[in-house]
Amino acid sequence: MRQRAIWSAVLVVGLALAGCGSASDSGKSTSSDGKLVVWDWKSGEPFAKSYLDKAKADFKKKHPDVEVEFVAQPFDQYYTLLGAAIQSGKGPDVMLFNGGGQIRDRVDALVPLDDYVAEDRQRLAGWEAFAKDGKTYAAPVTLQGYPIYYNKEIYRKAGLDPATPATTWDKFVADCAAIAKAGSKCFALGNKEGVGIQFWLSSLGSTTLTTAEYDSWIAGKRDWNSPNVKRIFQTWKEAGDKKMNSDGANSTAMFNDSFALFQSGKAAHVMGLMSDVGHWQDFNEFLTAEKLGVMKAPVVTAGTTPTLPYDGGIGYAVAKWTKDPKVAADLVRSLSSADALKAFYADAGAIAADTTIDVSQAGPAVSTLVSELKSGKPALHVALSSKTLDLMGRLSQQLLSGSVTVDEVVKQLAASDQAG
């Protein structure tokens, strides 16, 4: 009798614990009939409201009975949370990704969208950043590019013509000397996170590598021992050695301390972004649109032509575990529909993936950027794996502090690039 009581007590405890386990389990499963769950880091922001409203309305027309739930995750932990969801094979049906390494590392968990998005191919730009091995895994929402912005006011003060910035590297270095004499720094550089070198690589890539080298780099055949690839790291080191960068670059955060240096007129140039942060809309606000210029990369290797480096910035992808990939893909299409993207451009200040949007209201810098999209090419750093980028960040800090040589840098990067 007593024994029975004891066993029932054990059973109660066991059931209680099992209950706890299953309760937390059922909370995790988000995929169900008639409902799509979307993860992103944008939907909580006020500027995204009209964009999402437009996208939802578009989706409602196609699938009136499917409910859509947007879950905004903190960006800091976004890929950590997503990693956990992928590991457990459960999670959102549709999710937002940054182009490049972040999505390529996770394509195992995604559905190829090529068959679903064929109609959008022409209208949208920036597909390459979401593709791996010939398959596309997300539809682009914004474009992310790496233009060189400059402050026309500082040019005037230094006795330079703001309408004709330098077109060759040597002239550019000479201009920087004039700017230094006038009391400003040439570059606002933040390399605390090691991101500065990524922008450098992509901004100066088209004028340092030959067209053939550039194209094979993007195609995955990277010759790290080529003198032109080394030249990119040499110019990076040169800028550091000649004190062209803002002080303490290795302890300055790019987001957003280095951009603040540029906005406050302490540095003449910054390698910035086209969308989200550190871009024309932020700079216009502080410097005014008249003072803000966008320049083409100065030619480092004779015979090269500058092109704007850009890729798909962010885009929505469909998870492998979703019930009906067709419905989820339709939601992805709605999220990059023309109306929705127009709202995104206007409210968030991003260059949207839809290049047919009229941007003439936003100032000369944006018009220059959009006009360069046609001839633009994918950015060099986006083609590298997260691991190689992380290593490059650390090596770039060592280059600035002088504790490593350019030869050693390309050797280590080549090893990392081939390994992964």
């Binding site: 009798m1 007593r2 024994q3 029975r4 009581a5 004891i6 029932s8 007590a9 054990v10 405890v13 066991g14 614990l17 386990g21 932990q77 890929y79 950590t80 990693g83 590991q87 590392d105 996770r106 195992d108 605390k192 996170e193 090691g194 002080d247 303490g248 670059a249 290795n250 302890s251 300055t252 997260s386 691991k387 992380d390 960040g393 650390r394 800090q397 060592q398 502090s401 504790s403």
Partner: protein, 326 residues
């Protein structure tokens, strides 16, 4: 045995909860005393196990089992090899990774800096105990940083230690050149540890003050009467009397340094410059969240766990030894 002693309090509890009615019914029906005794003995034998069962089950199911899963996971591959066994592959990769080596070296540095981290609150607590002028004020001021979140502390010191920040401005005003406090790989780790000590020593200070409360004031008076200097009082009276408190602070400070510097690292240096401020936990976060290498991260977690285990066991040994001396 404590179990025997707790008999009166155990029986009503277990009877009331699970088998109260059954027990009394059985006793009435049989009416035989020996039988009742045997049943009672058995219940008493099992009662303690039942009572600790919830705690044990929670520890086993929510702590040990996930721990074993994690260790098991560290022997599998990442990415394309997800789920397949790779033996010690992850561990080999870890020990070949210069970044992980830096992280382990930094753990060694923390161990070396541990006496400093313990001595600072110890000394300050001594001064407060000896009632230096303004000791009440200092007691609250010293504790104040302990209530700030590491992120806030990191942000404050980011501003103070920036290249164009106030500290370099002060250095400049006395004619010294600026130092890139958080951008120089030889300096940055010391700055982060320094800030961590600044932010957390208040807690250790409180523990020391609690230890002082148990100190026999007669000993101090006797030392003073004998004409001992302050240094002699600290060395020959206070430190021996507080040896257990000091050891406790050593344990907690070490654990704090190894497991709760992530926030500061994240805000102040992001592991840089040049990867010089990596600690194992930051490495784990980076591999799992940024590099999409969860299995490698588990291997690093397992190693961190082993380090903590060794440190913890050593310190428990120390505590036991001092307990015996008392």
């Amino acid at each position: 045995m404590p179990i025997g002693n707790t008999q009166p309090s155990v029986r009503p509890a277990s009877a009331g909860r699970a088998g109260g009615a059954a027990v009394t019914a059985a006793a009435h029906r049989s009416g035989a005393r020996p039988g009742r005794n045997r049943g009672g003995l058995r219940a008493e034998r099992y009662a303690p196990y039942i009572l600790v069962a919830p705690a044990v089950l929670i520890i086993v199911l929510l702590r040990l089992y996930p721990l074993l899963l994690g260790v098991n996971f560290s022997f599998t591959g990442d990415g394309a090899q997800n789920g397949t066994a790779v033996g010690f592959g992850n561990y080999r990769e870890l020990f070949a990774d210069p970044l992980f080596q830096t992280a382990l070296r930094n753990v060694g540095l923390l161990v070396l800096l541990l006496p400093v981290a313990v001595a600072i609150p110890g000394l300050l607590a001594t001064f407060i105990y000896l009632r230096v002028p303004g000791h009440r004020f200092y007691r609250s001021v010293y504790f104040f940083p302990a209530v700030l979140s590491p992120v806030i502390v990191g942000a404050i010191f980011n501003l103070l230690l920036a290249f164009d920040g106030p500290l370099n401005a002060v250095l400049g005003s006395v004619g010294a050149g600026p130092v890139d406090w958080l951008g120089d790989p030889d300096v940055a780790m010391f700055m982060v540890v320094g800030v961590h000590i600044w932010a957390t020593f208040g807690m250790a200070l409180v523990v020391f003050l609690a230890g002082f409360a148990t100190l026999d004031a007669a000993l101090l008076d006797a030392a003073r009467v004998d004409g001992a200097t302050l240094r002699q009082v600290v060395w020959h009276v206070i430190i021996p009397a507080l040896s257990r408190t000091i050891q406790f602070v050593f344990v907690t400070t070490m654990i704090g340094m190894l497991t709760s510097m992530f926030g500061l690292l994240y805000v102040m240096t992001s592991g840089g410059p040049e990867g010089s401020t990596y600690l194992p936990e930051f490495y784990i976060w980076k591999q799992q969240g940024q590099m999409n290498r969860p299995a490698l991260a588990s291997a690093a977690s397992t190693i961190l766990f082993m380090i903590m285990l060794v440190v913890g066991l050593l310190q428990i040994k120390l505590l036991e030894r001092s307990g015996k001396e008392d």
